[in-house]
């Protein structure tokens, strides 16, 4: 029932966008009807250029996400496990985090030009903080009894990280990855749009300058679909990685 209602909502929205330009409510120069957008989209999916752009976007996104997660987890565990270091770095993290990543756009363009590297730097910068903050919270969340038990049994530093800190922090890490995936996708497409590195964003910029309005809408729909895909994929990964965790076990039982 819920699914049916949801589909009805999507169809209704599509019908609204189809009808509004048809009856002259808005000019179809600005807002082409849904059918035109879908036809354009279908044409585009027949071109190899479209799929190359999708592949470029996906590659930049995944690579940026991977680097950001690796860095975020490593730095987060290193900073989070030593209380003195954590106290000393907290203010710096709080200060650097709200710096909007787009402030770096002019900088990376001057340094690297309109290349994938420029976009990657933006993506990594933006996604890194999401992971780092979550990891630092997670590492601080270790159960004191478990920590004392580990110490009593003489677990070494590495063993403590492996068997104590990592399982505690994992749910936070996964949350961080989920947040970072969304942010990384936004920054990937923004970078392509503004900087002009190859990918879907650049295709949208090209469509804009050549006045191909339906193509612009069609590509925007594709970016939205990619975003939904990212959400679904990270949620599924979360369930797989954390199937042992009480929060998810409770969900399954209920």
């Amino acid at each position: 029932m819920r699914i049916l209602l949801g589909v009805a909502g999507l169809l209704g929205f599509g019908a609204l966008l189809e009808l509004a330009p048809r009856v002259g409510l808005v000019s179809d120069r600005y807002a082409p009807p849904t059918s035109t957008i879908l036809v354009t989209l279908a044409q585009r999916t027949g071109e190899s250029r479209f799929w190359l752009a999708v592949a470029d976007t996906l590659r930049t996104w995944l690579l940026g996400l991977l680097i950001a997660v690796a860095l975020g987890v490593a730095v987060g565990i290193a900073l989070g496990t030593v209380p003195v270091v954590r106290r000393a770095t907290a203010s710096t993290v709080e200060f650097l985090r709200p710096i909007p990543s787009v402030a770096l756009i002019p900088l990376v363009v001057v340094l690297y030009g309109s290349t994938v590297t420029s976009t990657l730097v933006l993506v990594v910068y933006a996604a890194f903080w999401q992971v780092l903050v979550q990891v630092m919270h997670g590492v601080a969340d270790v159960d004191p009894v478990a920590r004392d038990t580990a110490r009593t049994y003489g677990l070494g530093r590495l063993a403590r990280v492996r068997y104590l800190v990592w399982p505690t922090a994992l749910p936070y890490v996964v949350t961080g990855v989920r947040l970072a995936a969304t942010v990384a996708l936004i920054l990937t497409i923004t970078g392509e749009l503004v900087i002009g590195s190859p990918g879907l964003g650049q295709e949208i910029a090209t469509a804009r300058t050549s006045g191909a309005v339906p193509a612009m809408y069609a590509l925007t729909v594709v970016t939205g679909l990619l975003g939904v895909l990212a959400n679904v994929a990270t949620r599924a990964a979360e369930r797989r990685v954390l199937h042992w965790h009480p929060s998810l076990r409770a969900e399954v039982a209920a």
């Binding site: 999507l10 000393a88 203010s91 936004i186 749009l193 503004v194």
Partner: protein, 258 residues
């Protein structure tokens, strides 16, 4: 007293060290793209505290303020409407998930078509990006109203405006604030992006101009100003949050201390 000193010391030590490292490491820099920090600081007042403050910084902040305000009001109003009706929530859920997943900067070219390149477009861009975090968090907050409180309100016949204000909005407010915080960082990003496309004023416009003119120290000062702005707004937000949600944090911390 020494406790406060230690906290201030911990908070300031590393930033001071980092700035000092940057200052001295770049002091003798002849690299065109990495000018000495002393030069960036030297050009900062001339660049930003003169006419640009009124010409670029204020218009940017005004647009951000209007866009953010509109998005907050619309997001909370729509969120209350959607969240309190189960059928409406089910109908709109996939649609909202999709609309939220569209990266907001992608809407800039479309909104340029619809609203031209003036202030309206820039405000609309900010609204279109800030709306979703507020809206979706409000919906979640409204749905998670404590059933005991809801039943109590029904029993005591608390209805209409008083029910909305004291039960629904109050229960949803922690989530609304979370949404508002996410929206603020999105808003700053969109403020800059919208000015990079087509503008004759604004922070993003000024920074891009410096970049295109290869006035590198000025460009760096713009990047630093944007960073400071981001930090300042997040500090302001935290102060407001502390006032608005003081009751909530208090109710969460209280039992733990006992």
């Amino acid at each position: 007293m020494s406790g406060i000193l230690a906290r201030v010391g911990y908070a300031l030590a590393l930033p001071v060290v980092l700035v000092a490292v940057w200052w001295f490491a770049s002091a003798g820099s002849t690299d065109f793209y990495f000018p000495p920090l002393s030069r960036i600081v030297a050009v900062f007042p001339d660049t930003w505290l003169s006419s640009r403050l009124a010409d670029d910084v204020l218009p940017s902040l005004t647009r951000l303020g209007i866009g953010y305000g509109v998005a907050l009001l619309a997001g909370v109003a729509l969120g209350l409407a959607i969240g309190s009706n189960r059928v409406v929530a089910a109908v709109t859920e996939p649609l909202l998930e999709f609309l939220r997943a569209i990266p907001p900067p992608v809407l800039v070219p479309i909104l340029i078509l619809v609203a031209g390149i003036g202030d309206t477009m820039k405000v609309l861009v900010i609204v279109s990006g800030c709306l979703w975090p507020v809206l979706l968090n409000t919906v979640d907050g409204v749905r998670a109203v404590d059933p005991v409180l809801a039943d109590t309100c029904r029993t005591y016949r608390v209805r209409g405006g008083r029910r909305w204000w004291h039960l629904v909005i109050r229960s949803a407010s922690p989530r609304i604030v979370t949404g508002a915080r996410q929206a603020l960082s999105v808003g700053i990003i969109l403020m800059v992006i919208s000015e990079m496309f087509a503008a004759s004023s604004g922070l993003g416009y000024a920074v891009i101009q410096f970049k295109d003119g290869f006035r590198i120290p000025q460009m760096w000062s713009g990047v630093i100003l944007l960073g400071l702005l981001g930090v300042l707004l997040s500090v302001l937000f935290r102060i407001v949050e502390h006032r608005v949600l003081g009751w909530y944090h208090g109710s969460r911390d209280g039992p733990r201390e006992r």
